[in-house]
Symmetry: C2
Subunit: 115 residues, 2 copies
DNA sequence: CAATTAATACGATAGTCTACGTACTACGAC
DNA sequence: GTCGTAGTACGTAGACTATCGTATTAATTG
């Protein structure tokens, strides 16, 4: 079994991450759904794009993942045919302590409220 | 000295406030600046739109205040010739505990970082 | 009533955002 | 090499956004 090829992707450094960009990335229901999914995985755990059931065209999914990556919310890396995604928890928590957790708690409250 | 006339404006009820809408409202630098300003005032304190120095046309300012009101972030009321603005701290903190505080703390960190 | 102040409304424009479908690439399995 | 899977690229349509300038409304002051 050969090691799956790993290709890198452009990511913003911590200094380049902007609060407005992060908030904008999180202000879309579909992207919030992606982040919620990744949040529920363990620390540093990855998931391929295909692991999340989104009711839109594949190309639209690609777009949303890219917005999250470019805002600095997620880390993406190609592994073989898959593109693995993980939250940049540590980076975000260092930059903006508690932000991600608070937003996701608010999201959980709203999901509960919506039923 | 006559009491200034008070006219009401449409606001979303707490049930109508959406997390995505709040995050979107906060994801613009100009609007973040407005919220930061209102946050620094005391609890329940109001300020007229003109109290905040924004480097855009008046009509653009009006637009941003409206976005914040329609998202449920601020409360607006006419008092005489002025339109007074206040953060809906209590409402937001009840709906999404800690959210506003965490975002504003993150904003403070970023302002510090930007110098 | 006239003047001043605070803010809105309107209309235009340039740009962004979300979404789609189709065609394509990269990799792993056979 | 061929096939299937995972995801990208591209072009596009429609909706929304940010901005402006000008004209206008509403209330207070004189």
């Amino acid at each position: 079994m050969p090691t799956a090829s790993v290709r890198a992707l452009e990511h913003p450094t911590c200094e380049e991450i902007r609060l407005e960009g992060v908030l904008h990335a999180l202000s879309d229901p579909m992207r919030l759904q992606i982040v919620r999914f990744l949040w529920r995985l363990g620390e540093d755990e990855e998931a391929p794009c295909s692991a999340i059931e989104l009711v839109v065209a594949k190309s639209t999914t690609t777009h949303h993942f890219r917005v999250l990556r470019e805002a600095g919310v997620i880390n993406q890396v190609y592994r073989g045919t898959a593109k693995m995604n993980a939250l940049r928890r540590r980076d975000l928590d260092t930059l903006f302590p508690g932000l991600l957790g608070t937003v996701l708690a608010a999201d959980a409250i709203q999901c509960e409220r919506d039923g």
